[in-house]
Amino acid sequence: MSSHAATIDHHHDSTTSTGIPNKKLLWWAFLASDCMFFGTLISTHLVYRLNPPPGNAIPTQVFNIELTSFSTFILLMSSLLMALAVNAIQRGNVRSTRTMLLGTMFFGCIFLGGQVYEFGHFVHMKHMTLSNSLFGSTFYTLTGTHGTHVAIGVLLLGMMYVRTFKPAAGGGLSMNFLHMLAVAVAAGVAFIVFVPGMIEIIYGAGIGEFLSSHAVPLSVGAAACIAMAWFARQSSTVEFGEKNAIDVEAVGLYWHFVDIVWIIIFTAVYLLEYL
C-alpha cells in the first residue's frame, strides 16, 4: 500500500474514482448537511427576532459583547493551530502534531468556558432562561447546538491526540482508554470550571474564594493533567505517522467548519443587535 511508500501525496488518493479520499468526501457531505441544521436554527432565530412577543428579552441588555468578541477571537485562532497540526503531520512530525492538537483543544475549551460563563451569567444575573422568553429559547438552542459541536470537536481532537501514542507493536487498549479518560476529564474541568472561574476573577472575584469553592473539581482536573503528562512519556515507537495526515485533516475540516458557522452566528445573533 501507499502507506509504505517513501513519499505520500496528501492531495490525491489513487484508489478512488475522483482522487479524493473517501473519508474526506464523507466529511464534506456531512458538512453540507450540517449547514442545513444551522440554517434551520438561524432561520428560527431570525424569524422570531422580527416577531418578538411582548416581554421578550432585549438582547443588548443581556449580551456581554466584549467577552463574546474575545472568545470569538480565541476560536478563530484555534483554527490557525488546527491548520498547523495538519501541516505538522503532513511533514511527519508527530511531536509537533501533538502540541498543536493540544493547543487547538485548549483554545476550544476557552471558547466553551466563555459560553458556560455566558449562559450562567444570562440565567442568574439577567434572568433570561430557556423558557421565560422566546429570545431565550432561540438563543440557547442555537448557541447551545454550536457549543455542542465545539465540544464534540474537542472530543474528536482528544481521540486523535491519544491515538498518536498507539504503540507500533499493537495492543494497549486499556492504556488508550485511561489516557482518553484523562483528556476528557481535563477538558471538561477546563471549560466547565476553570475557564469560567478565570473570567469571574478577571471581573473581580477573589482567587482564594474560587479555589476553595471549587476545590474538588479543580483537584480532579489537576490530577487528570498530571495523568496526561504521565501518559505522554514517549517510551516506544508509535504507529501514527505521515500516513495519518488524512485523519487529522478530516477532523480539521470539521473544526474549521464549526468556526465558520460561529462567524455567521456571531454576526447574526450578536452584532446584528448593535446596528
Binding site: S14, T15, S137, N176
Partner: protein
C-alpha cells in the same frame, strides 16, 4: 491500470494494521443469528432493510384496511375516533418512513455497489449502523400500540397527531400523553439513519466506480440514488431541528410553537414542508430509477435520451426545494409568495413530463416483452401520470383552496405513492428477485397479482377524486348518510379489499418462489447492468474481477464483446491476486450495539420526566439516568468502533472461480 484495479476494493482507511485495539474478538459467523446481526455486507443489510420494510408495508396496509372498513357505510361505529386518529397517523408514517423509504434503502444497498462495480459501500460498518438506527426508530414509533394491549404501559396509544404533526396539536396542552414524544424521537432516529446512509451512498457512488465507469455511464437507478441521497442530507436537517424544537416545547418549557409564549405554529408548517416536499421526491426518484432500468430491458432498446433523463432527475431534486409552500396555500402567505410557489410547482412538472416522454420514447419501436416487471412498470407510467395531472391541478392556488384537506388530495397522493412509487417498487422486487434469490417468480401468478392490484387500486382511489370534490374532508372518522358520499366510500372500500387481496397474492407468490421457484442463471431477463453479470445470488465478494466498463449498458457490451472482456478479466484477477487477493472487511458488533444503545436511550428520553415504575413500585424519580445510560452505551460503542479498524481478510479464487479465504493482512 492493473495496479489501480487491484486497489479499487479499497475500503476507506487502508488495510488494517498488523494489530488493532480489540476489546473482544470480532464475529466471524457468516450465517445464523450472529452472522446477520453483525454483518457489514451490503447485500445482507439490503435484505434486512427489505424484510423489515415489507413487514411494515403489510402492517401499514392492514391499518389502511381498518380505516376503509370504518368508512364503508355512513355512521359506522367499527372503531373509536381515537383509534381512527392513531390509525391514519400511523398508516401515513408507516408507509412513508417504514415501508417506501426502507424499501428504497434496500435497493440502494442491494444494487448500488454492484452497479458501480464495487465490492461493498465505502463505509460498511456505518451502513450497518444506519440499518440498526432505522430499526430503533421504527420500534420507537410503534411502541405506543402496546398501550392497547397492556394498559399499565400507559403511553396513550400510538401517535395520533397526523403524519405531519401540525403544531399546536403536538403541544403538551393538546396531547399530554407520551405518544407524541415517541413520535418525535422515532422520526428523529429515522432521520439520523437516513442521513448516515445517504452520506455513505454519496461517497460510494462518487468515489467507488469501477474503471471506465464515468458519471454519464452510471445506470439511471444509481444516478437517482445519488440525487435522492443529496435530497436526504439537505432536507432532513430542517425536520430534525423542528422536532428538537417540539421536544423542547414539550419537555423543557420553550415557546417555539406555543402561541401563549409568542411562538408561531406556522413556523412548524414551513420547517416541516421544507423537509416534507423534498421528501416526496425522495420517495419517487428511486422508483423512477427502477422503471428506467426495467423499461429498456423489456423493450430490447437502450434508454431513450439518457442524459436528459438524468438531467431531469437532478432538476426535480433541485426545484423540489423551492415548492414547499404549495402545501400551505390556504394559510395566507400573501399574493406574491403564493404566485411564486404556484409557478415553481408548475415548473417542476416539466422535468417530470420530460422523463415520461423519454420512457415512452424507449418503448417506441421496441420489441416489447410483457413480463410481470414490465407490466408494473407500464402501470407505473400510466398511474403516475394520473397522479401528476391532479398534482398540476393543486399547483393552481385558487383551485387548491377548494381541494385542500379533501379526499381529492388523498386521491392525488395515493396515485403518486401507490400508482407511482409502489408500482415501481413491486416491479423492482419482481425484477431483481431472481438475482438475489436465484429463483424465478411464476409468470402466471405474478400477472394475477398485477391485475388484482391494478384494478383494486383504481377502484379504491379513483372515486376519491369525486368524494373530495363533493366536499368530503380527509381524516373523517364518520359521515352522515345524506352527504352524497355513500356510494363512493362503499366502492372505495371494496376496492381496498381487492387491493389487499392483490398485495397478499403478490407476496404469497414471492414466498412460494423463495422455496419452490424455478432456478435461474445469472441473467434471466437478458438485462443491461452489471449486477446481471455475476452469479445469482451474488457471492460475498460480488465480482471475481473488478469490471472494466466500456459503455452505458455495460453488461450488454460485455455480452457482445466476450473475447475482449475475458482477456481483461483474466488480467484483473491476476493483478488483484498478486496484490494479496480480494479484500473483504470484517464483521462488527459495534454498529448494532450503538443502534440498540440509541433505542434504549431515546426510549427513556421520550418519557424523561416520568417516574420509572416496575411492577407497581416506583424505582426512579425520572427516566434521566436510564436515558444517560443508553446514550453512554452509544458513545462507548462508537469509541471502541473507531479503535477496532476495518480489519478484514482476503479471498483467493482458483481457476474454477472457487473461493478460498486467508486471514492475513499481508500486502
Amino acid at each position: 491500470m492493473a495496479e489501480a484495479l487491484a486497489k479499487s476494493e479499497f475500503t476507506g482507511t487502508g488495510h488494517a494494521p498488523a494489530k488493532s485495539f480489540e476489546l473482544f474478538a470480532r464475529p466471524t459467523a457468516k450465517t445464523g443469528l450472529v452472522g446477520w446481526l453483525t454483518t457489514v455486507d451490503h447485500k445482507k443489510i439490503g435484505m434486512l432493510y427489505g424484510g423489515f420494510a415489507i413487514l411494515f408495508f403489510l402492517i401499514g396496509g392492514l391499518e389502511a384496511l381498518l380505516i376503509r372498513t370504518q368508512l364503508i357505510v355512513p355512521n359506522n361505529r367499527f372503531i373509536s375516533a381515537q383509534l381512527y386518529n392513531e390509525l391514519f397517523t400511523m398508516h401515513g408514517t408507516t408507509m412513508i418512513f417504514l415501508a417506501v423509504m426502507p424499501l428504497n434503502a434496500a435497493f440502494f444497498n442491494l444494487l448500488v455497489p454492484i452497479q458501480v462495480g464495487a465490492r461493498d459501500v465505502a463505509f460498511p460498518r456505518l451502513n450497518a449502523f444506519s440499518l440498526w438506527v432505522w430499526v430503533a426508530g421504527a420500534t420507537l414509533l410503534n411502541v405506543g400500540w402496546i398501550s392497547h394491549l397492556v394498559p399499565s404501559w400507559n403511553f396513550g396509544g400510538a401517535p395520533d397527531v397526523g403524519w405531519f404533526g401540525y403544531s399546536p396539536l403536538t403541544s403538551k396542552v393538546f396531547t399530554p400523553d407520551l405518544s407524541t414524544d415517541f413520535w418525535v424521537l422515532g422520526i428523529q432516529m429515522l432521520g439520523l439513519s437516513s442521513i448516515v446512509a445517504s452520506l455513505n451512498f454519496i461517497v460510494t457512488i462518487i468515489n467507488m466506480r469501477a474503471p471506465g465507469l464515468t458519471m454519464m455511464r452510471l445506470p439511471v437507478f444509481t444516478w437517482m440514488a445519488l440525487v435522492t441521497s443529496f435530497l436526504l442530507i439537505l432536507a432532513l436537517p430542517a425536520i430534525a431541528i423542528a422536532l428538537v424544537e417540539v421536544m423542547f416545547d414539550r419537555n423543557f418549557g420553550t415557546n417555539f410553537f406555543e402561541v401563549s409564549g409568542g411562538g408561531q405554529p406556522i413556523l412548524w408548517q414551513h420547517l416541516f414542508w421544507v423537509f416534507g416536499h423534498p421528501e416526496v421526491y425522495i420517495l419517487i426518484l428511486p422508483p423512477m430509477g427502477y422503471v428506467s432500468e426495467i423499461l429498456p430491458t423489456f423493450s430490447r432498446k437502450p434508454l431513450f435520451g439518457y442524459p436528459i433523463v438524468i438531467f431531469s432527475g437532478v432538476a426535480i431534486g433541485f426545484i423540489g426545494f423551492g415548492v414547499w409552500s404549495h402545501h400551505m396555500f390556504t394559510t395566507g402567505l400573501g399574493t406574491v409568495a403564493t404566485a411564486a410557489f404556484a409557478i415553481a410547482t408548475m415548473a417542476i412538472a416539466v422535468p417530470t413530463g420530460v422523463k415520461i416522454f423519454n420512457w415512452i420514447g424507449t418503448l417506441w419501436g421496441g420489441h416489447i416483452v410483457t413480463r410481470v416487471p414490465m407490466m408494473f412498470a407500464l402501470g407505473f407510467i400510466w398511474m403516475f401520470m394520473l397522479g401528476g395531472f391532479s398534482g398540476i391541478m393543486h399547483a393552481a392556488a385558487p383551485a387548491d383552496a377548494q381541494q385542500q384537506d379533501s379526499y381529492f388530495v388523498i386521491a392525488h397522493f395515493h396515485y403518486v405513492l401507490i400508482g407511482g412509487a409502489t408500482f415501481a417498487l413491486l416491479a423492482a422486487i419482481h425484477f431483481w428477485f431472481p438475482k438475489f434469490f436465484g429463483r424465478m417468480v411464476p409468470e402466471f401468478w405474478g400477472k394475477v397479482s398485477f391485475w388484482l392490484i391494478f384494478v383494486g387500486f383504481n377502484c379504491t382511489f379513483f372515486p376519491m377524486h369525486f368524494l373530495g370534490l363533493n366536499g368530503m374532508p380527509r381524516r373523517t372518522w364518520i359521515y352522515d348518510s345524506n352527504m352524497g358520499w355513500n356510494e363512493g366510500n362503499l366502492f372505495a372500500t371494496i376496492g381496498a379489499y381487492l387491493l389487499g387481496l392483490g398485495i397478499f397474492t403478490y407476496f404469497a407468490v414471492l414466498v412460494y418462489s423463495f422455496f419452490k421457484g424455478q432456478k435461474c442463471g445469472n441473467d434471466p431477463w437478458d438485462a443491461r447492468t452489471l449486477e446481471w453479470s455475476i452469479p445469482s445470488p451474488p457471492p460475498e465478494h460480488n465480482f471475481a474481477a473488478i469490471p472494466q466498463v466500456h459503455a452505458r449498458d455495460a453488461w450488454w457490451y460485455e455480452k457482445t464483446h466476450q473475447e475482449e472482456i475475458a482477456k481483461e478479466k483474466a488480467a484483473n484477477i491476476k493483478a488483484e491476486e498478486a496484490h494479496g487477493g480480494i479484500h473483504i472487511p470484517d464483521q462488527s458488533w459495534y454498529p448494532i450495539i450503538a443502534g440498540m444503545g440509541l433505542l434504549f436511550g431515546t426510549y427513556n428520553l421520550a418519557q424523561l420526566k416520568h417516574p420509572v415504575v416496575m411492577f407497581g413500585n416506583q424505582v426512579l424519580g425520572s427516566h434521566a439516568p436510564l436515558a444517560i445510560a443508553g446514550l453512554s452505551i452509544v458513545v462507548l460503542a462508537c469509541y471502541l468502533w473507531s479503535l477496532e479498524g476495518p480489519g478484514g481478510y482476503h479471498i483467493h479464487l482458483d481457476a474454477d472461480g472457487n473461493a478460498k479465504e486467508s486471514g492475513g493482512y499481508h500486502h
